[in-house]
Symmetry: C2
Subunit: 111 residues, 2 copies
DNA sequence: ATAATAAATTAAATTATTTTAATATAAAAA
DNA sequence: TTTTTATATTAAAATAATTTAATTTATTAT
């Protein structure tokens, strides 16, 4: 097959598209909360995440909804899931998530 | 009036809300392009921005649409507009925009 | 004044995302 | 094997964002 050559412009466009996907998926309060929780705890089961989100955000977010968010985040490679018995344990799957959230924290939560 | 005390949690929640707003508005290809163009050129008129966006993204984006994006970005303080005669010149209005875009560039456009 | 240019505004139409509700699957316990 | 627990899947309903098209305002030039 034909070898595709990446021009500087195509690399730039691809980078932009990835950055856009990243921000888009992170700009939802519950998805962002999930990522923050995983940064804090390194690994959590789906159920632990549900509890934690419910505790923060009183009376919102169904199990189904959170499972859907976890699916979206995993699909995009931001988290990984490992099955152990009936539980599924999630972790951050892309180090860029941590860097981005760290910067946001610096910018918007000044000491 | 009653003096509101900011607890650590309320500050965290507020920071999170601001970070969410920021990412939400930045996660649209044309709005992000506008911000990038303004970082590159420091100041551009609305018309120049329209041309530039049109050049990058062939045959998309109407004058009206771009004007609407400029309005959204200004409303949120990410850019400022200064009127000079019939032109309106825009600039980045929040230094955090630059920091965030710089990080995204590092993360997604590796040399 | 009239016309032309630069940019903003409004509203309707379209499309995408989010939420809700119901159901399904798979593993563990009874 | 029946039930319970943990999680995922699906589809419909609700909501929000985007796009398009038409119009408007303000400024400069004729």
């Amino acid at each position: 097959m034909k070898k595709k050559i990446a021009t500087p412009e195509s690399r730039r466009a691809q980078g932009m598209a990835q950055a856009l996907d990243m921000m888009k998926i992170m700009s939802h309060p519950l998805r962002l909360s999930i990522l923050c929780a995983l940064i804090e705890h390194r690994e959590m089961s789906a159920g632990e995440i549900v509890e934690r989100i419910r505790a923060e955000t009183p009376a919102k977010a169904s199990q189904s909804q959170i499972s859907q968010y976890l699916g979206q985040l995993r699909e995009q490679g931001l988290i990984t899931g490992r099955k152990e018995g009936q539980f599924i344990y999630y972790r951050i799957g892309d180090p860029r998530v941590k860097k981005l959230i760290a910067l946001l924290h610096d910018l918007y939560c000044p000491a």
